[in-house]
């Protein structure tokens, strides 16, 4: 009896000892970002940021074995040099069926709560399992992905460093990916440098900035392009869903498919304009090949519909050159003003973001 008790005590001590030495605590990581981005960030309580978790996530982001044919990784469609897009209208995954929508740029996702063009995924952890398992993207169940990583001896220790124990699970795969994606912070464009007082924009850039954030007002003789209603603030997006007048009858109903409400027809999430000069083609269906076409769209091709955002109506205001009939859907920007607006959009390119070694492919030495 006494012996048994002693054995139990020894066993418990051994387990505790193992716990203390065997389970390493990952190193907490604090994300650094500009104060003007605000603190409405999302990091789930059960997936705190750690150095080791981010390292693992970066590896997994570039890991082709997470796909059914071992050739596709997240980075196939989200390439760093293109601010994590792929330059295509629609992307190619493991099979011949292209994705129904344009690949989104990945920057400042820490501030996003509803992911995808239609906002259907809440949180980056939930988002990641979509491309991993979609038969046309990476086409592999999370369980098979975990098995394939298990077969590579190196991963067990990486998971142990990140999560305390060597188990490789689907949940841990998406958690590590999400941790890595939260570090993709783009806040060093010339526009940020200007906000920090380190860059003096050209006259054209300054005028473009002014136009971008102003609403036209005829009485006060203010000219504006009203972009800030939706792409406002230093992050250049507000998490809103709007119909920005691409079609009167949209082929892709966007958010309506998620909510089942016809007031959401043709509504999509307002995209970030960070690095926008690097992420052509544009819009959820990649219909615009360049930014000139985008500016022309907002200036004179807004399509009326029941759900067209009210922010894009009644804009004629101080803009003058509206044509008859659809005047209030036109901005009436002059050729020079369009150039200025484009100059401002180019100011949002963050070259240090696309060269940052922390985000690059770890498999390429």
């Amino acid at each position: 009896m006494k012996h048994q008790l002693a054995i139990v005590i020894v066993a418990i001590a051994a387990v505790i000892g193992l716990g203390a030495s065997g389970i390493r605590r990952a190193t907490p990581l604090t994300l650094v970002y500009p104060a003007n981005f605000g603190n409405r960030i999302s990091i789930p309580d059960d997936n705190p940021m750690t150095e080791e978790g981010v390292q693992l996530g970066r590896r997994l982001f570039y890991e082709t074995r997470l796909s059914a044919n071992n050739r596709v990784s997240c980075a196939t469609c989200h390439q760093q040099a293109k601010a994590f897009t792929d330059g295509l209208r629609f992307s190619q995954g493991v099979d011949d069926t292209p994705t129904p929508r344009n690949a989104m740029s990945l920057a400042n996702l820490l501030w996003v709560r509803n992911f995808f063009w239609d906002g259907r995924a809440k949180g980056l952890e939930a988002q990641a399992s979509f491309p991993l398992t979609d038969p046309h993207e990476m086409g592999q169940s999370l369980a098979v992905s975990a098995q394939k990583l298990q077969a590579d001896g190196r991963y067990a220790s990486l998971f142990a460093q990140a999560f305390g124990t060597p188990q490789i699970t689907g949940q841990r795969i998406v958690q590590a990916l999400a941790q890595f994606e939260r570090t993709l912070i783009s806040a060093n464009s010339k526009y940020d440098q200007y906000l920090r007082g380190e860059y003096q924009p050209t006259t054209s850039e300054l005028n473009g900035l002014q136009l971008f954030f102003s609403n036209p007002n005829a009485e006060k003789n203010i000219r504006g392009a009203s972009c800030g209603h939706c792409h406002g603030g230093p992050k250049t997006f507000i998490e809103l869903f709007h119909n920005n007048g691409l079609d009167t009858v949209p082929a892709d109903k966007g958010r309506e498919v998620i909510t089942g409400q016809s007031i959401d027809r043709g509504r999509f999430r307002v995209a970030t304009l960070r690095n926008i000069a690097l992420t052509a083609p544009y819009m959820h269906d990649g219909r615009f090949a360049n930014l000139e076409d985008v500016v022309d769209h907002y200036n004179e091709h807004i399509q009326p519909s029941e759900t067209l955002s009210t922010f894009l109506q009644g804009n004629q205001g101080g803009m003058g050159s509206a044509m008859s009939g659809r005047g209030d859907l036109q901005l009436g920007l002059t050729t020079a003003e369009r150039k200025d607006l484009l100059a401002f959009l180019h100011l949002l390119t963050d070259s240090s973001f696309i060269q940052d070694k922390r985000f690059s492919n770890p498999f390429i030495p």
Binding site: G119, E239, F241, D264, T307, L308, T310, G314
Partner: protein
């Protein structure tokens, strides 16, 4: 008597069957710190006590809206209003969510008749007609504010929570 109950049962089940398929029936969801979560349709709101409020719109003119007092909706959902709005309940807030993702916040006290005479309403009519596309079917009308930013449009959800700090 029995037959009537049976008939009523049949009718309600038919009605709920219909709502299953009428996916476009707009509703406002009330959730969070409530004793009775609600999913209010236009018909539900029309059955409640009507209230009016006036709002100066973009055109600079004042327009009369009809709807239901927000505080009545909160009371129906079992939120701590009126006599119950004291102590820790004063640390509760209402977050109003709109279809486009826009959100505005109120403390419960600023909506309560025991605290203020400015009655905010959830409006479903403007000058006797349904709200125009883009604004409706439901919009908040908050009288007495200098900017109409909290009189938000296309309301889809009202969430009541405790401020956590």
């Amino acid at each position: 008597m029995r037959i009537r109950t049976l008939f009523l049962l049949l009718l309600t089940s038919l009605l709920s069957f219909q709502t299953l398929f009428a996916q476009d029936r707009a509703t406002v969801k009330v959730s969070g710190e409530v004793t009775k979560p609600l999913q209010l349709s236009l018909e539900d709101l029309q059955k409640m006590k009507p209230a009016t409020a006036v709002l100066k719109d973009r055109d600079g003119k004042e327009h009369p809206y009809t709807g239901v007092a927000v505080s009545d909706i909160l009371t129906l959902a079992g939120v701590t209003t009126g006599q119950q709005l004291h102590g820790e309940n004063l640390a509760k807030f209402l977050l109003v969510k709109c279809a486009d993702g826009y959100e505005v916040l109120f403390s419960l006290a600023e909506l309560d008749a025991a605290f203020t005479d400015k009655q905010a309403i959830l409006a479903y009519q403007l000058e006797g007609n349904a709200l125009p596309a883009g604004k409706g079917p439901f919009r908040l009308v908050v009288p007495g504010e200098k900017r109409p930013a909290r009189s938000c449009q296309q309301v889809v959800e009202m969430v009541i929570r405790f401020a956590k700090d």
